[in-house]
């Protein structure tokens, strides 16, 4: 097997492994075609194209009202994963900084720990408040579309505006105090504390475009949903 063919197989296998459950069959289908493709480069392009499809399918496009139910299920799954993982991370953060509060010698670091616990608690409250609102499966399609739109708006707001900025702003002062307090208590660690603070600030800055990107994704889905709804109204079809 040539290196290019190996790469194609590797990409294809990774796509099968990481494909969302709803796309598993399709990932397998794309992967199983590889042995039939004679040219190695064609096989690589096939694998790359197929992988792109599976990743694009993660954020379902809404081309018509028929897409609403699968898109709503995908959103529900996505938000459920975020709620669970976000809750675990914030609880771990609270426990870690809570424990550090009793270990740290300086008042500044203690204040930092308190602020970090408060910030993590605020984050936990947000993550739980924005958990997925389950949409009943047996309602008619237009009602399902309206409920889905409300849910998309909620999720868009989670990633933009005051909720985003309040999260980010609250996460900063506690960590600054921790690092400054650490450098003050142990001046030899000034360099390490600066690096740690820089990494933390960079992570917060990176979170801004990522969050706004998510907000844009939900806004795009709202626009697509509105177009699909209008088209269905124009054609007089909005059945189940």
């Amino acid at each position: 097997m040539t290196p290019i063919r190996k790469l194609a197989v590797m990409i294809s296998n990774a796509a099968v492994r990481f494909a969302p459950p709803a796309s598993q069959d399709w990932a397998e289908a794309i992967s199983r075609e590889l042995p039939s493709i004679k040219s190695d480069w064609a096989a690589l392009l096939w694998a790359l194209g197929g992988t792109r499809v599976l990743f694009a399918r993660r954020s379902a496009r809404i081309a018509s009202l028929a897409d609403v139910r699968p898109a709503a299920s995908a959103l529900e799954r996505e938000v459920r994963i975020r709620t669970v993982s976000g809750s675990i991370v914030t609880v771990v953060l609270m426990l870690a900084f809570g424990r550090f509060f009793f270990m740290t010698p300086t008042p500044m670091q203690r204040a930092g720990c308190v602020l970090m616990v408060v910030a993590a608690l605020f984050l936990l409250v947000q993550v739980v408040a924005w958990r997925s609102a389950s949409i009943p499966k047996n309602i008619d399609l237009p009602t399902h579309a309206r409920r889905f739109r409300i849910e998309l708006e909620r999720q868009r707001d989670f990633f933009s505006g005051p909720w985003l900025w309040s999260r980010l702003i609250l996460m900063l002062p506690g960590y600054v105090l921790l690092c400054v307090g650490g450098a003050e208590a142990l001046p030899a660690t000034l360099y390490q504390q600066t690096i740690l603070l820089a990494i933390y600030v960079a992570a917060l800055i990176i979170a801004i475009p990522r969050s706004l990107g998510m907000a844009r994704k939900y806004a795009r889905q709202i626009a697509e949903l509105d177009t699909a709804y209008r088209e269905s109204q124009n054609s007089g079809v909005a059945g189940n």
Binding site: D25, W26, E28, A29, I30, R32, E33, P35, S36, I37, L45, W46, A47, L48, G49, G50, R52, V53, A56, R57, A63, S64, L65, A66, D67, P70, E231, S232, N234, S235, V237
Partner: protein, 101 residues
């Protein structure tokens, strides 16, 4: 219900309407139509989601992993014929206009 489909849809449907009763492989469709996997599979997925395309795994043979097969459903064949004929008419119309003038 109006839907936005990619322009390659008609090529794909024309490939199926040739022999609608036959099962086809993904790569075979791609080779015959020139549609790349990145465009082909989203169309196949959407057709399947709407009940216009039937999918199946071919029977397993020792040492050869089964491949996915595709065939239009009854509704799919009707949809395909409509789409193909309306595209053909749209393409022919300007020529007819030229002949008339």
């Amino acid at each position: 219900m109006k839907m936005r489909w990619p322009p390659q849809l008609v090529l794909l449907l024309a490939e199926f309407t040739g022999r609608p009763q036959d099962w086809k492989y993904g790569y075979e469709i791609s080779r015959n139509t020139g549609i790349k996997s990145g465009t082909l599979y989203p169309i196949l997925m959407r057709l399947a989601d709407r009940g216009l395309l039937e999918t199946s795994w071919e029977p397993a043979e020792p040492g050869k992993p089964p491949r996915h097969l595709y065939k239009l459903t009854g509704d799919g064949v009707r949809f395909a014929r409509e789409q193909v004929s309306s595209t053909r008419n749209a393409v022919l119309r300007p020529e007819l206009r030229e002949v008339k003038s």
